[in-house]
């Protein structure tokens, strides 16, 4: 299968690989996918006030899944939580030129972003915004 240059770039030089302290109150963690389906994404955000100051990922999956999550961390940094949840998988598909068979990778990345944001929000439920 031929990969787009951008997918290859993210695969060869993944951005923001790593883990944040999942027990920290400032961190939201999203883990989506399943090993038997061939992809699992872990995406974490560190939030200061309403703004994402750091994002990290680890992904088990094909090159397109790795690229989608790597790209997501780049886009998340500096965004507000609201801006983050507005990111759609179609934007990821366009940016990485993913073929139709790889669209599910971008969907997974969108799901991971939403899961990370809602994990953060759950930790702060009941607090004043």
């Amino acid at each position: 299968m031929a990969y787009s240059d951008k997918v290859l770039d993210h695969y060869n030089n993944p951005r923001n690989v790593g883990s944040l302290d999942k027990t920290s109150n400032a961190v939201g963690t999203g883990i989506v996918g399943a090993p038997e389906c061939g992809d699992v994404m872990k995406l974490q955000i560190e939030v200061d006030g309403d703004r994402i100051v750091d994002a990290k990922f680890k992904t088990f999956g094909c090159g397109s899944a790795i690229a989608s999550s790597s790209l997501a961390t780049e886009w998340l940094r500096g965004k507000t939580l609201q801006e983050a949840t507005a990111i759609t998988n179609t934007e990821i598909v366009q940016e990485l030129s993913l073929p139709p068979v790889k669209i599910h990778c971008s969907v997974l990345a969108e799901d991971a972003i939403k899961a990370a944001v809602s994990d953060f929000k759950r930790k702060h439920a009941g607090e004043d915004a």
Partner: protein, 404 residues
């Protein structure tokens, strides 16, 4: 050393120069139709075909009259299974085969099911083996055929063919064996093994593509087939169509070289495989051999690398030409049916790669391949949330995943 390094010798092999040399005159000089009876052009072509027939027979301990040339194993399998089903269908409608067979067997079996045959698909054990007891237990009064391959193309597991052959003889059931991966790689003798029908293919043994043969037993019992290709009645009526003389000459030469070099080739491939696996296992933990570690094709190493996904792994080794056990081409990944049938979990099936070592593989290439795969696995495990969780002591089978 040239890259990419070819390590896919179960998929196909290059034509050996000795084979090519034998073939060349038959394109331009000895170009006659082997069925032409009236002139030396035809006689010379026929002589060459007969010689190749003897060479193929010698490789598998058969008589030359038992060799039917085909376009390869797929066609030979179609002829064997459909030909037997049509010929003996009035005696019984039951066929036994394995879930780990090549698609060429499985798809023909499915076709026969549509024609009113009943097929039992046996699941192999976790090493890919079938016991005689399991096959015996599946036999019925109306069983006419057992189709079990000699050696598996994905994992290399070698079956107890002689024991299965003996059982089939006792029960008067025909035994068809896909010998595509075994012929020319390990000792194969159809008489000692009690095989009644067996296919082999030129391109798996350093011969040309698009040519192979079906062995059809002539005595004890005499196997009869209904032809699947009608026409001029070539190959004693079993396979019509003008013979591919240069291809058949190449197949014969490949069989001859393989027979003479069998021990040398097997030793070479085995030594490289052991060298490769030792290097990989020294550097990485959580690597698993798929198949029967102690009884597999000498040049076949199918490994699963836990916590990394197969396609990303293949992407990480662009300088190696290998084959992956999983094809991530759709939303629902399809792990190899062979690994699935052995009960290898989907997760490990997705991370499997088959490395094939052959006649031309060098030690330098072997070491290079090991180092490449080691590097890629280490890199991907750094990226893998599963590896991280496993290191934290989390039991991945207990996690509540959000499957999609």
């Amino acid at each position: 050393m040239n890259t990419p390094v070819y390590l896919d010798f179960q998929a196909t092999t290059p034509v050996d120069p000795r084979v090519l040399e034998a073939m060349l005159p038959y394109f331009t000089q000895v170009f006659g139709n082997a069925a032409s009876r009236n002139h030396p052009f035809g006689w010379d072509a026929e002589k060459a075909v007969d010689n190749a027939r003897a060479q193929c027979a010698a490789l598998i301990g058969a008589h030359e009259k038992e060799i039917v040339f085909t376009s390869g194993s797929t066609e030979a399998i179609n002829l064997a299974l459909k030909g037997v089903a049509e010929m003996y269908g009035s005696k019984g409608k039951h066929i036994i085969t394995s879930l780990s067979e090549h698609k060429a067997v499985l798809d023909v079996a499915k076709h026969l099911e549509k024609e009113g045959f009943e097929v039992t698909y046996l699941a192999p054990d976790k090493l890919g083996r079938h016991s005689v007891e399991q096959i015996e237990a599946a036999m019925r009064d109306d069983t006419i055929l057992v189709a079990i391959m000699w050696a598996n193309n994905e994992i290399g597991t070698i079956q107890s063919i002689a024991e299965i052959g003996k059982l089939c003889k006792e029960r008067k059931v025909l035994f068809m064996c896909d010998g595509t991966q075994a012929a020319g790689k390990i000792p194969v003798n159809v008489d000692e093994a009690g095989v009644d029908l067996m296919c082999a293919s030129g391109h798996k043994m350093y011969g040309p593509k698009g040519v192979g043969f079906l062995y059809v037993r002539r005595k004890n019992p005499r196997v009869r087939l209904v032809a699947q290709m009608d026409g001029g009645g070539h190959e004693r009526g079993m396979r019509s169509g003008t013979l591919n003389v240069p291809g058949i000459v190449g197949l014969g030469a490949a069989a001859d070289v393989a027979r003479q070099d069998l021990e040398k080739d097997a030793k070479h491939s085995l030594q490289l495989r052991e060298r490769f696996e030792a290097r990989v296992f020294k550097a990485l933990d959580q690597v698993f051999i798929n198949g029967d570690k102690d009884n597999r094709l000498p040049g076949c190493s199918n490994l699963s690398f836990a916590y990394v996904e197969g396609e990303s792994l293949i992407m990480g080794i662009p300088e190696l030409a290998v084959s992956s056990g999983s094809a991530c081409t759709s939303a629902s990944l399809e792990p190899s049916h062979v690994l699935q049938s052995m009960g290898v979990g989907d997760e490990l099936a997705h991370s499997s790669i088959r490395f094939g070592f052959g006649r031309l593989t060098t030690e330098e290439e072997t070491d290079y391949a090991a180092d490449q795969i080691i590097r890629a696995v280490i890199k991907l495990r750094e990226l893998s949330p599963l590896y991280e969780m496993a290191l934290e002591g989390i039991d991945l089978s207990q996690v509540n995943w959000t499957g999609h």
